[in-house]
């Protein structure tokens, strides 16, 4: 969608391919659901599907934050650590102040996450850091901070107020709150990415940073903003994660960054930036969660999870590269 080309024809091809790529994720989703359901019928029951949706919600929220970073051609490796850090800080706040209204928790999470994200943003936009170096450093810095502030101890379920745990357990208008959170995040990002200038500017910076500057886009501002958003979403994810699993520990969400990045890439967002749609990310997160859930349902060891994620990630980038190769060939043929 994002590529604006001088060739009218090429734009059509581009949009068509992107649509196919996006909805193409449905094929593995259906295929996988079919295979697992054959082996264990429990997989397709309403109960299990609700489980998958609940699990996918947190991943979706964090992945959407990650997506805006990847759209600019960057990467944020620190989301897993930010998630653990905000979860731990807020859990410790609630442990000390039992009567704090639980509705404040998501706001605190977003604020704390934004601070972490802003540090990344300053490093990348003002410090001219390569995103991978900046966020690899902060990934370990934030993780280390979790260990230090917690002293390696857990905040257990009984130390958290009921209201905080209920945050992800109540139904509003018949919809589980976790899904509502994800829905709100999805709709607002969808609106801003596709229908506001700021969203289009994010795509433009990722597509071609130099020309983005020439048309008057404040590149530094956009770069700062995307890391801020990514941090904020990771922070919100941290609260929901802590509330859902009713415990905060220093090694929580280890490797979550890989899940988030995988969901984004599987959803068809190009790692070099500038193209990809948010609905794809939603489907990517769903596919990833479904597969992990399927492994559990089929009683396959959870140790397979990490390797499988790596494989899916690699497959997604390879498929994208093959599509790009074919498109280029088609391009050349048309221009002749």
């Amino acid at each position: 969608m994002a590529k604006v080309s001088t060739f009218g024809k090429s734009k059509d091809i581009y949009e068509r391919v992107e649509k196919i790529r996006e909805w193409g994720i449905l094929i593995p989703i259906i295929l996988f659901a079919f295979i697992v359901a054959l082996r264990s019928p429990y997989f397709l029951t309403a109960e299990n599907i609700q489980y998958i949706l609940l699990d996918a919600s947190i991943l979706t929220i964090v992945a959407i934050g990650e997506m805006v970073v990847i759209l600019t051609g960057g990467i944020d490796l620190s989301v897993g650590s930010v998630l653990a850090l905000t979860g731990m800080i807020v859990a410790m706040i609630y442990k000390e102040n039992f009567n704090l209204p639980p509705i404040l928790a998501p706001l605190m999470g977003i604020c704390l996450g934004s601070i972490c994200g802003a540090i990344n943003g300053i490093l990348v936009s003002k410090g001219k850091f390569l995103p991978i170096i900046a966020t690899l450093s902060t990934m370990y810095i934030y993780r280390g901070t979790v260990y230090i502030i917690s002293g390696g101890k857990w905040v257990n379920a009984h130390e958290m107020p009921e209201g905080f745990k209920l945050l992800t357990r109540i139904d509003l208008f018949g919809i589980p709150s976790l899904i509502l959170f994800a829905g709100i995040v999805f709709i607002s990002f969808y609106y801003f990415l596709n229908h506001r200038a700021i969203g289009r500017e994010i795509y433009a910076v990722g597509d071609n940073p130099n020309s983005a500057v020439f048309v008057g886009i404040n590149k530094d501002k956009i770069l700062f903003l995307v890391y801020l958003l990514s941090g904020a979403m990771a922070g919100l994810g941290g609260i929901l994660y802590t509330s859902r699993f009713a415990s905060a520990e220093s090694s929580a969400a280890m490797g979550f960054e890989l899940s988030a990045i995988s969901a984004v890439v599987i959803g068809g967002v190009k790692t070099t930036g500038g193209s990809g749609r948010i609905t794809g990310v939603l489907l990517g997160a769903f596919l990833l969660t479904m597969i992990i859930n399927g492994l559990n349902v089929m009683r396959i060891s959870p140790f397979y999870k990490l390797a499988l994620q790596g494989v899916m990630f690699l497959l997604a980038v390879i498929i994208d590269s093959l599509i790009a190769e074919r498109m280029q060939r088609e391009f050349r043929r048309k221009r002749r």
């Binding site: 410090g127 850091f129 170096i133 690899l136 450093s137 990934m139 370990y140 810095i141 790596g310 190769e325």
Partner: protein, 316 residues
């Protein structure tokens, strides 16, 4: 101008090393003991071995963040073979082969599908560590073969010089000579400066990339063997986070993260600087999590410093 900058960077590292030594000897009287100092080098030799190939990769304008995961995979395979009753040396050899294949796989994906190395190695970062977990689950394998433990714990003859230090020095000299004295080394620099130009001037860019990533795999494997031998046990989470330390060391050594500049002497100096600083922090009982934070801060400060240097150089 450029030459003077590089010169001063290494001098700076040397001054920092001396500074660390002076401060540490004030903190703890045990620091400036030659036997202790030599002994402590064993703690970062595997890091150094991987840093050698990592500097090639970064100078060529790429990055490999799968090295620590590759180490995990290698160790896990070695542990599994050993548990099956295969001789430890054969297990190590097979594992080394697998590590090399792992590196080649990175290189293959990068060149065949024209993918950025960050994307590929991020994928294999998960995949290789995942394989380690699949193989070993949450168990550990103990190694009790004396001759194998010599690799990571042994000394040369009756001297206090550790075997791993000697191995590292030999490797470092080889890597340095190849980088600075051969055409292949010049190609690596050229690729880091401008890959497109290299392609047009007939340099086999793709083949060199495959070689570099394969080499990185081989070195990760070697590092894994040294580390397993030093710890005398193998766990699936062996060396987690080592990629950060290795990249930080290389960048601290004056290699630009954008590729094209840097040299081996700087990397080796940086390795010893970081190693000695970590050692002195251990002496005063700073927990490893804090040391990780300091490593992260160090990486950020170094990159910031080089950028300020380069900025001033451009203005001058």
């Amino acid at each position: 101008m450029k030459h003077r900058f590089k010169f001063s960077w290494e001098i700076l590292l040397l001054i920092l090393i001396i500074l660390v030594c002076i401060i540490s000897s004030f903190i703890s009287p045990y620091f400036l003991d030659i036997v202790n100092l030599l002994d402590t080098t064993t703690n970062f030799m595997e890091k150094g071995i991987i840093a050698l190939s990592m500097s090639y990769i970064i100078i060529s304008g790429n990055i490999d963040i799968s090295v620590a995961s590759n180490m995990g995979m290698t160790s896990a395979f070695m542990g599994i073979f050993y548990r099956m009753g295969i001789n430890i040396w054969f297990s190590a050899l097979f594992a080394l082969l697998i590590a090399t294949l792992g590196g080649f796989f990175n290189g293959f994906l990068v060149t065949r599908f024209k993918l950025p190395s960050i994307a590929v190695t991020l994928g294999t970062y998960g995949l290789y560590r995942g394989i380690a977990y699949i193989l070993l689950k949450d168990t550990a394998v103990g190694i009790d073969n004396e001759s194998f433990l010599y690799l990571g714990q042994g000394y040369i003859g009756n001297t206090p010089i550790p075997f791993s230090l000697v191995l590292f020095i030999i490797l470092a000299i080889t890597f340095g000579l190849i980088l600075h004295k051969t055409i292949f080394g010049r190609y690596i620099y050229a690729m880091g400066n401008n890959e497109q130009t290299c392609r047009f001037s007939g340099i086999p860019v793709d083949r060199i990339k495959r070689i570099l990533f394969t080499l990185s795999g081989l070195m990760s494997g070697l590092g894994a063997i040294m580390l397993s031998s030093r710890l005398s046990s193998i766990r699936p989470d062996i060396g987690v986070g080592l990629e950060l330390e290795v990249i930080a060391t290389v960048v601290l050594g004056g290699v630009s993260i954008l590729g094209g500049t840097g040299n081996m002497i700087g990397v080796v100096l940086a390795l010893f600087l970081v190693g000695l600083a970590t050692y002195s922090m251990n002496l005063v009982n700073i927990p490893s999590q804090v040391i990780t934070i300091i490593m992260g801060l160090l990486l950020i400060t170094t990159v910031l410093l080089t950028q300020i240097f380069q900025y001033r150089e451009r203005r001058a």
